[in-house]
Symmetry: none
Subunit: 195 residues, 4 copies
Amino acid sequence: MAESGRGRGRPRSEQARHAILAAARDLIAEAGYEQLTVQAIAARAGSGRQTVYRWWRSKELIVAELVTSGELTLPAVPIPDTGHLEPDLIAWLDTIVHSLEDPQAGGLMLALVTAASDNEADARLLYEMSTGPFHRALVARLTQGAAAGQVGPHADTTAIADALIGTVLFRALTPGARPAPTSAVIRTLLGCSTS
Amino acid sequence: MAESGRGRGRPRSEQARHAILAAARDLIAEAGYEQLTVQAIAARAGSGRQTVYRWWRSKELIVAELVTSGELTLPAVPIPDTGHLEPDLIAWLDTIVHSLEDPQAGGLMLALVTAASDNEADARLLYEMSTGPFHRALVARLTQGAAAGQVGPHADTTAIADALIGTVLFRALTPGARPAPTSAVIRTLLGCSTS
Amino acid sequence: MAESGRGRGRPRSEQARHAILAAARDLIAEAGYEQLTVQAIAARAGSGRQTVYRWWRSKELIVAELVTSGELTLPAVPIPDTGHLEPDLIAWLDTIVHSLEDPQAGGLMLALVTAASDNEADARLLYEMSTGPFHRALVARLTQGAAAGQVGPHADTTAIADALIGTVLFRALTPGARPAPTSAVIRTLLGCSTS
Amino acid sequence: MAESGRGRGRPRSEQARHAILAAARDLIAEAGYEQLTVQAIAARAGSGRQTVYRWWRSKELIVAELVTSGELTLPAVPIPDTGHLEPDLIAWLDTIVHSLEDPQAGGLMLALVTAASDNEADARLLYEMSTGPFHRALVARLTQGAAAGQVGPHADTTAIADALIGTVLFRALTPGARPAPTSAVIRTLLGCSTS
DNA sequence: TGATAAACGAGACGGTACGTCTGGTCTTACG
DNA sequence: CGTAAGACCAGACGTACCGTCTCGTTTATCA
C-alpha cells in the first residue's frame, strides 16, 4: 500500500513545525543569526532537537523556510506604477533604503548572507528565495517601462535589475558607511530615455 | 615620558602575530571561513592558543585585522585603459566575476561579511578597506571616460561605481545564479555615449 | 509510583559508566594518579568528556566511586591461619609490604589519599572502604589468637590492628625508607605471649 | 681558589628566597596544598616566576624546604621524660593527636602526603624530613626506656617507633573516622615490661 | 670607574588540561 | 510510528597554569 498508508503512524505535527519556525524567527530578531543554535530553537519551540533535524537538515534551511513561508522576509516593497518608470524606481529605492535602516531588516540581510555559508547549494536557495521576488518584480516593471520607451536604448532590463539589487545589497552591508543611493543611480541606470 | 613603562617583560613576538595572521589567511583560502577555528589557526601558526587570544579577542577580529592590514583582500584587478571605456570595463568586470568563482575569493567575501557583522563599529572600515580601492579606481577611470564623452549624459560616476560594485557583491554572494551578461551590464550603466 | 517520571529521555548508559570507571582504574594502575586526566579517561573509555562530567563532578569522585564500589582496592591479602599467630602475621605483613612495592598499589594509595583530601565528607567512607576489610580481618585473627593465648596480656586487639595498618600506610607512603624488619614489628606488637 | 669567581654577577637575593617560602607557607595555610600554584606563590612573594624556579625545581621541593627550614612543620611535640616511659608516651600521643585536630596541621599532613606525588625521590625526602625527627626522638626515648627495663623483652625500638608513627598517620588521614588511639596502643606496643 | 655578568621583576611564549557548550545521532517512554 | 526528552560521542570554546624564554633593570665583581 505504497501511498494509501499516508496516515500510518502518528502524523507529523504541523504545530511543532510552526513552533520551530516561530522560535527561529524570534531568536533571529532578538539576538541575530550568529547566536542562533538548534538547541535554543528547540527549547524555545518546546520541541525536541531531533524533531528539528527531522524537518530540516540544517539551521540554514530553517531560515530558508522562514523566508519562503513569508514568516521572515525582507520588507516587501511593491514597486509603484504611476506609468512613469523613473520616479517610480526612485520612490522604490528611497523606501527600501529607508526600511533597511531598521536594524531587524538589516540583521536579516546579514543573516541571509551569513547563512549562505560555504554551502553553495544553500546559498543559491537562500538568494533565490530572498532576492528572486525582487529581481522578478524589477524586471517586470522595467520591461513594462521599456515598452513605453522609458528606458534608454542601450539598457538591458536584467542588467538594470542586477545593478539595482547589487546597489541595495551594498548599501545594506555598509550601513552609514556611504551616502545613500540617490536618484542619480536610477537616472544612470535608465540612461537616456526618449521620454 | 609616558611610554617608559612600555618595555616590561618579554616583548610580544611580532613573528607569532604574523604567523597567526598568515595561518588564518591560508586556512580561509583553503577551507573557507565557516571551517575556521582558533584551534586550527594556532596549530598551523605553530603557536599556542593563548597567544592567539592575547592578540585578538575573537576570530572575527583576526579577519578584520587581515582585511585592514591589507593581507586579505579581494584580488586586485586593475582596470585596463585602452582609451575605450566600454570594452575596458567589460574586460574588467569579466575578469573580476571570473576570479570570484575561485572559492578562495568567495570565502573571503563571506569572511569579510561575517567579520563585519558582529563588529559593527569597524564594519565601515572593513568595507572601506575591501571595496574602497575598487570604488576609487572605478571613479577615476569613469571620470576620465566621461571627459572623453564615453559616458552617457545622465550618468553619475559615483552612482555607476556603486552599482558596479554592488553587482559584483551580488554575484559573489549568489554563486551559480543566473547573471545578466557582463557586457549588457556595462552598456546599461554607461548609457548612450557619444562615441 | 514516585519513580514514574524517571524514564523520559534516553537512559544513561551503564556501559559508558563502567567503561569510564575501568579506564580510570587502568590509567591509575599504568601511570599513577598524578598523571590521571579526565581527557585521558574519556579517550580510553571511548566516551565523550561530557559523559564523564555527567556522572561525576570531579576526577576525585571517580576515584571515590572506584574505591567505594570495590573496583579499586588495595590488593586483598588473606591472613594465613596455621594456628600460629605470630608467623601468620609475619607472613601476612611481608606479603603486603611486598605488594606495595608494586607502583600500581602505591599509586592507588596516593589516589586514595588525594581523593579523600578534597572530599572531606566522604573521607571516612573512603578510608573505611579501603582499610576496613584489613582492619576487620586483623581483629578477627588477633581475637582468635588471643583466645589461644598467643597475644601478650597487655595487648588490645583493636590497638594492634590500628598500629599494623598504620605501619603499612607509613611504608606505602615512604617508599625505600629504612623500615624495621617485619618480624620485629609483629613480635613487638604481640608482646610476650604464653606460647 | 677555583671558586673565587662565584660572585661575578648579582648575588642571589636571600630576601626573595624567604619571601617565596613565606608566601608558599601562607598560601598552604589559607587554601591548602592542592590549590597551591607557582604563579600564586610568585605573585604573593612579589617575585618573578623564574626566580622561584631558580631556587627550586618544583613546587614539592618548596614544601620540602619549608619543612626543613622549620617554617612549616608538624607541631613539634617533645616527648616528655619523667623517667616513666609508658605515661610519657601516652601523654605524647594524646598531645599529638589533639594537635592534629587543628585543621592547619591536618592539612599540612595531607599536603606532605600529596606532595609525595609520584616522584619517589621527593617522597622520600619529604618523609625523611617530616617524620625523621619524630622517628629519631621516639627511638631515643624508647632506647632509654628499654635500658631502664620499661620495654617488653620482645619489643624492638625501631618497630615501636614505626608502629606509633603509623598509628598517628592513620589517625591524621582519617579524622574522626575512628576512635582516637588510646593508651591501649602504648601498652600494647610496650608489651609486658618488668616495671 | 666603567665594563661585564648574573639575578631580578615582568610577562609573552608553546603547551596541556580544564569544565562548558553545541552539533548531530541514538535510544528510551508516551500518545 | 512520530514525538519530547535527554544521553551519547565528538570537538571547539575560552581560561588557568605549566615550565621556558626574552626583555629592561639592578647590583655585584673585576679590570
